[in-house]
């Protein structure tokens, strides 16, 4: 599902990632952890092609991401559901529209898109906020909308960047349970987090990034 070979990323000669070699099999649940600035978000950005690596190879779903041209990117991004740390919701669209927009991109008919979006919102306890605009939502609610958007079309790969950052413990547990369900149905899940409680909540493979290299690869706690 995901393969990184000799992956390097530098900003202004400052090396963030140093020769990463990682292989994630389809259907795996993987945590990516490390201190702030360790390169977790950068690694995720390289996976959904928001950044280009300085050197090395990035493979996702047997597609060479680092060599992709502009016209291939939408196709790659439609194979994955990304939960962004800063939510990245469309301000001028309602909660429901934010989700149906993505479903429509996948060719889902309007009525079916509305139905699926509603069901996903209901699953995340946000159905009563479907007509609200993102600015009217709390941080936690915005995060749940971002999660709903990433999960609505049941992608085979989910990348989550600090998905529980704005959620209380109860909601965070619910979200992790949701991600586990999706993983159980066959989707690959990669969660970037620095929350140790979260790492301990699920016995999953954990990659620890430190100073741009994988310092530990195994179940948590080490």
């Amino acid at each position: 599902m995901i393969r990184l070979r000799g992956l390097e990323k530098a900003y202004n000669h400052r090396r963030i990632l140093r020769g990463l070699d990682v292989h994630i099999e389809p259907g795996q649940f993987v945590f990516l952890t490390g201190h702030s600035g360790a390169g977790k978000s950068t690694l995720l950005k390289l996976l959904y092609a928001a950044e280009k690596p300085t050197s090395g190879e990035v493979w996702v779903n047997r597609m060479r991401v680092d060599e992709m041209g502009g016209s291939e990117l939408p196709e790659l991004r439609r194979t994955m559901g990304v939960i962004f740390q800063d939510f990245k919701l469309l301000k001028r669209k309602t909660v429901l529209e934010n989700i149906t927009f993505v479903l429509r991109l996948h060719g889902v008919a309007t009525r079916e898109a509305n139905r699926r979006a509603y069901l996903t919102l209901k699953r995340l306890g946000l159905q009563h906020r479907q007509s609200a605009y993102p600015e009217a939502l709390s941080g936690g609610e915005q995060q749940r909308v971002a999660i709903a958007r990433a999960l609505a079309y049941q992608p085979r790969l989910i990348l989550a960047d600090e998905p529980t950052g704005n959620l209380d413990a109860e909601l965070a547990a619910e979200l992790m349970s949701l991600l586990c369900d999706i993983n159980y149905q066959g989707a690959t899940v990669l969660v970037a987090t620095h929350d140790h409680a979260l790492l301990e909540s699920i016995p999953a493979r954990t990659l620890v990034l430190h100073r741009g290299v994988i310092e530990y690869d195994g179940t948590w706690p080490p």
């Binding site: 959904y48 928001a50 041209g69 502009g70 016209s71 990117l73 939408p74 196709e75 790659l76 991004r77 439609r78 990304v82 962004f84 990245k88 919701l89 469309l90 301000k91 001028r92 927009f101 993505v102 429509r104 991109l105 996948h106 309007t110 958007r149």
Partner: protein, 285 residues
Amino acid sequence: MIRHAIFEGILLLRGRTWATLSLAIALAVPVAVGGTALTFGLWAAPLLRGSGGAVTVEVLLRPQRAAPEVDAWLKAQRRKHPDWRIRVVPAADLSRRLSRWFPYLRPLLEAEGTGFVPSLVEVTTARPEAVNALKRDSGVLAVGPTTSLHRSLERTSARLRWLVGITTAILLLSAGLLAGIWIHLELYRHADEIAIMRLVGATESTVRGPFLFAVLVTGTVSGISACGMNLLFARWLSGLLLSLGLPAIRTSWAVLALQILVAVGVPLLVATITLARHAALEIES
């Protein structure tokens, strides 16, 4: 995604009403100038072709002359000058021209009819100076200018052709540039949303759709306005031309369609280029 393009496009237009209107006017003016010049050119071309270098001189006969006398005079002139093409302007036509040239004569013309109107004769010849000799004819009241209106028209058309062509091109270029700047500003204003759309897998057609729709609407409004300006100008000019004894201007459907096509096509082309450049820069960065 068409619904998305229309919905978002309307939002774009609503968010920038004045800028959109300015753009529509900036586009309508050059298209109207070009279209009107084309209409005028299409109107003048057959007239200029038909003149074949000949000049039409108007000759006004004395009003006291009876119809048989006029006929005899015409016969004599045709015999004497077989190369002249002589046409008597119908009294009703002359009456109409007089009422246009001298509006204060209108009540008199309406009350008295065409009975008192003198006979006007049009002599078409390659040697207009020869017509001047008629000034000495006792039956002739006056001889009009020997420089043909057609020739003046030809000269004016030749001068205007380049002037209008270059002016239209410059104005169209400016309007295109304005459309590009408008798109650029809107892209800048919606940069965050566009970036998010791309991140969640939106294709370029989804991202560009609303902008293209907004430009399509603006272009259509400009095209329709330009057609309106063209028709109004043609109507005004027709009144003037009729008073000179020339046929009225008719704006052809082809010219109107061409105006709409240019008004829509130019901003669409500029928008397509601007959006493609923006996408390329975005992906590069």
